[in-house]
C-alpha cells in the first residue's frame, strides 16, 4: 500500500446497549480504491459517518495526512450517504451549485463544475429539471455528481452501486477508477462483492462492529487454505481421505472440491488421484471475495453469524 493518507484508528461507538463499532482500524493510501464490505448493521455506515463528522465516535481517532481530521479537511471529502438525499423539488443544477458553494466554491466555478459533471454522467440536458422528475438511476447520478463536484481529495461513498442498472454500474465503476487513478482515495461500501473484487485495490471485511480482515483480495486469499477441484471418475468413494491433510468440501458427480491443510499438499493430492485411474481435471479453486467473506464472517462467533449468512445470500441474489 502507498503511504496512508486516511487513518481510521480504533474507532468505537455504542448506541445504547449495542456496540456498533469495536476498535475499528484501517488505512487508505493515496489513489487507493478501498472496498468496505460487511453484513447490514456491521458498522460500515457508522464508520463513514464518523469520518465525515456527522456522527461522533465514543473513542478512537480519524487522521488525514497524519493530522486529526478537522472541519476544514472534511469539506474536502466527497460524500454520498447511504440514505440518498437531495432536495426533491429543487432544480438539478441549482442544488449542485448550492452544494458546491457550501463546500467553499465560488459561484462561477460551482456552475462550471456542475455542468462538467452532469455532462460526464450523461445528464447534460437535465440540469434545469427538478430532481424528482428524474428516474431513480438518474437521481443517483446526480447524487454522485454532488460528491464529485468540488474535486475532493477523498471520496466516501456508502453503497454507491445499490439501485443502479448495469449501464450505470459501468459508468460508476469507470468514474471511481478514474478518480483513484487521479490520486484521489476512494472508500466505498457495497454488497456487490464481485464488483468490489474487480474494482478494489484493497478490501476491509467488517462484521458486528469488528474489522475481521483488511488487505488486497490476493492477501486475503493467502490467508485461506488452498482448494482444488479434482475430477477422477474411476476413484472410489472416500479416496480423498487417503491424502494427508485433505478435507472433502463438496462433491459434484465425479468432481470433488478438496481443501488442503498445507499448500505443499497439492502434489500428493494429484499423485493419489492418479493412482485411482484417469484424472480429467485438476484445478486450483481461487476463492472469490464472496467465499472469503463467508468464511471470515462464519468464523466470527456471536449472534451476527446468522444475519451475516442471510446477508450474503441477499447480496448474491
Amino acid at each position: 500500500m502507498a503511504e496512508p493518507v486516511l487513518e481510521i484508528d480504533r474507532l468505537s461507538k455504542r448506541y445504547g446497549s449495542v456496540l456498533a463499532l469495536d476498535e475499528v482500524s484501517f488505512e487508505l493510501g493515496a489513489g487507493e480504491l478501498f472496498g468496505f464490505v460487511g453484513p447490514n448493521g456491521a458498522g460500515k455506515t457508522s464508520t463513514m459517518r464518523i469520518v465525515l463528522g456527522v456522527l461522533a465516535a465514543d473513542s478512537g481517532a480519524v487522521r488525514w495526512r497524519g493530522q486529526p481530521i478537522s472541519f476544514a479537511t472534511r469539506r474536502r471529502i466527497g460524500y454520498m450517504p447511504e440514505e440518498r438525499g437531495l432536495y426533491p423539488s429543487m432544480g438539478v443544477t441549482e442544488q449542485l451549485v448550492y452544494l458546491a458553494e457550501l463546500h467553499g466554491m465560488r459561484a462561477p466555478a460551482a456552475h462550471a463544475a456542475a455542468a462538467h459533471w452532469l455532462e460526464r454522467l450523461g445528464l447534460g440536458d437535465r440540469g434545469g429539471e427538478q430532481l424528482q422528475k428524474l428516474s431513480q438511476g438518474n437521481q443517483q447520478r446526480v447524487q454522485l455528481a454532488a460528491a464529485l463536484l468540488y474535486s475532493p481529495d477523498l471520496l466516501v461513498l456508502d453503497e454507491p452501486f445499490s439501485g443502479l442498472d448495469p449501464v450505470a454500474v459501468d459508468v460508476m465503476s469507470a468514474v471511481l477508477r478514474e478518480q483513484a487513478d487521479a490520486g484521489i482515495s476512494v472508500l466505498f461500501s457495497s454488497h456487490q462483492l464481485d464488483l468490489v473484487e474487480q474494482l478494489c485495490d484493497r478490501v476491509g471485511i467488517i462484521s458486528a462492529g469488528r474489522m475481521l480482515a483488511v488487505g488486497s483480495v490476493a492477501e486475503l486469499r493467502a490467508g485461506s487454505a488452498p482448494r482444488y477441484w479434482v475430477d477422477a471418475p474411476d476413484a472410489p468413494a472416500g479416496w480423498v481421505e487417503w491424502v494427508p491433510g485433505a478435507t472433502l468440501i463438496r462433491q459434484e458427480d465425479s468432481r470433488v472440491l478438496v481443501e488442503l491443510a498445507a499448500p505443499a499438499g497439492d502434489q500428493s493430492l494429484l499423485q493419489v488421484a492418479l493412482t485411482t485411474g484417469p484424472v480429467h481435471e485438476f484445478r486450483r479453486d481461487l476463492p472469490s471475495l464472496t467465499d472469503l467473506f463467508r468464511s471470515v464472517v462464519a468464523e466470527e462467533p456471536g449472534p451476527s453469524g446468522a444475519t451475516a449468512q442471510r446477508d450474503i445470500e441477499e447480496a448474491a441474489s
Binding site: 459517518r49 465525515l52 463528522g53 456527522v54 456522527l55 461522533a56 472541519f71 476544514a72 479537511t73 472534511r74 469539506r75 474536502r76 471529502i77 460524500y79 450517504p81 440514505e83 440518498r84 438525499g85 437531495l86 432536495y87 426533491p88 429543487m90 448550492y98 452544494l99 458546491a100 458553494e101 457550501l102 463546500h103 467553499g104 466554491m105 465560488r106 466555478a109 462550471a112 463544475a113 462538467h116 454532488a146 468540488y150 474535486s151
Partner: protein
Amino acid sequence: MSNAAPDSSGLSPRRAVYLIARREFATRIRGKVFVIGTVVAVALLALYAVLQLAVIDRINTTTTFKVGFSGPATALAQPLEAASPSLGFKVHVSDIATEARGRSEVRAGSLDALVEGTPGAPQVVVKTGIDPTLQAALVSLAKQHVLSTDLSAAGLSPATVEGQINAVALGVDTLQPATAAQLQGPIIGFVMAFALYIFIGIYGGVIGQGVVAEKASRVVEILLSTVRPGQLLLGKVIGIGLVGLLQLGIIALCGLLFTVPTGVLALPGAAIGAVLIGVMWFALGFILYALMLAATASLVSRVEEVSSATVPVTMLMVVTWLLAYVVAIPAIDAVTGGGAASHGLATLTTVLSLIPPFTPVLMSIRMAAGGVPLWQGLLALVLVLASIGGVTWLGARIYANSVLRFGARIRILDALRR
C-alpha cells in the same frame, strides 16, 4: 475540464449562514405560502378598504333638505339656512305662496317639509316622517325665537344675552395628559403582538416543516458534513424569517396605500416610534420562537408529525397571548384610562414582561403604551438576546443529535444527551 480546486478556507461561518439563508429565501419566495398568502391578504385588504369607503361615503354624504315656508313661519327660513352647516346638513329653503300648494308639493316629493304656523309654534307637514336632525333644528330655532321675543318684551337685548351665554366655557384641568402615543400606543402594541402571533403560527410552521423535509429527504446528512448544525439552523430561521417579513411588509404597505387615502386609518407621527419598537420586538420574538420550533421539529421524521412535536412551543405562544390579554392589556388600559392599575396587576405585568419567552409580546405592548423605565427595556433586551444565544446552542444540540436519527420520535432528553 481542470476542476479549479476551491479555496479550502473559502467558507466562513457567515458565508455558510448566508448561503443557507439565501437558498431558503429563493425557494420560499416561489412557494405557495408566500405567493398565495400575499395575494389573498392583499385582496382581502382591498376588499376591506372598498367596503369601508362605501360605508364612509354614505355617512359623509351630507343630505340636503328642501324645506318650504309659508305664512309667518317664514321668519325661521333665514336662521335655518344659517344654522345648517354646523348641524351637518344642507338646506334649500323656499317661500310657498299657499298652504294647499305646499302640501301638494310635499305629497309629490318636491319638498321634504313644509313649515307653517307662527315662528314660536311652527307646524311641520311631512310626507311619511320627519328627519330627527331637521326636527331638532326647527325645535331649537323656535325656542330661540320665543326666548328672543320674551327678552325683548322684558327690555333686554337678545344679542347681548346670547353673547353672554356663548362666553360660558368649561375649564378642564388635566392632571395626567394623555399623549397621542399613549392613545395610539396600546392599539399599535396590540396589533404588533397579534401580528407576531399569526406570523409565528405561519412561518414557524414553515420552518418546522422545512427542518423535517430536509431530514426526511436525508439531504441534511450532506449538509452537516460541510456546515455546523447551528449555522444550518440560523440560516434557515433568517432566510424564512426574511421571506415572512417581506410578505408582511408588502401586506402592510398595501394596507397603508388602501387605507390612508380613504382615511380609514390615520398613522400619526407619534405612533411611528411605537411601530419601530414593535418591529424590533417582532424580529427578536420571531427568531426566539423559530429556533425553538426548528429544534423541536427535528425530533420527528415525518412532516405530519411536526405539529404534535412542536406543541410545547405553540403552547408557550398561546400562554403568552393569554397573559397579554388577561394581565398586560387590562393593566395598561387602567393606566391610560386615567385611573391606576392595581399594584399587583402592574407588578405582575412588569415581572412577566422580563421573562424572555413572554418579553417580545408583553414588552411591545408595554413599550407602545409608554412609561417603561429604560432599565427595564434594556434588561428585557439583554435577556432576550441571551436566551436567543442559549436557544441557538441548545437547539443546535438537539438538532445535531436528532436530525440523523430517523424513524420514531426522539425524546428531548435523549436528544440533549450526546
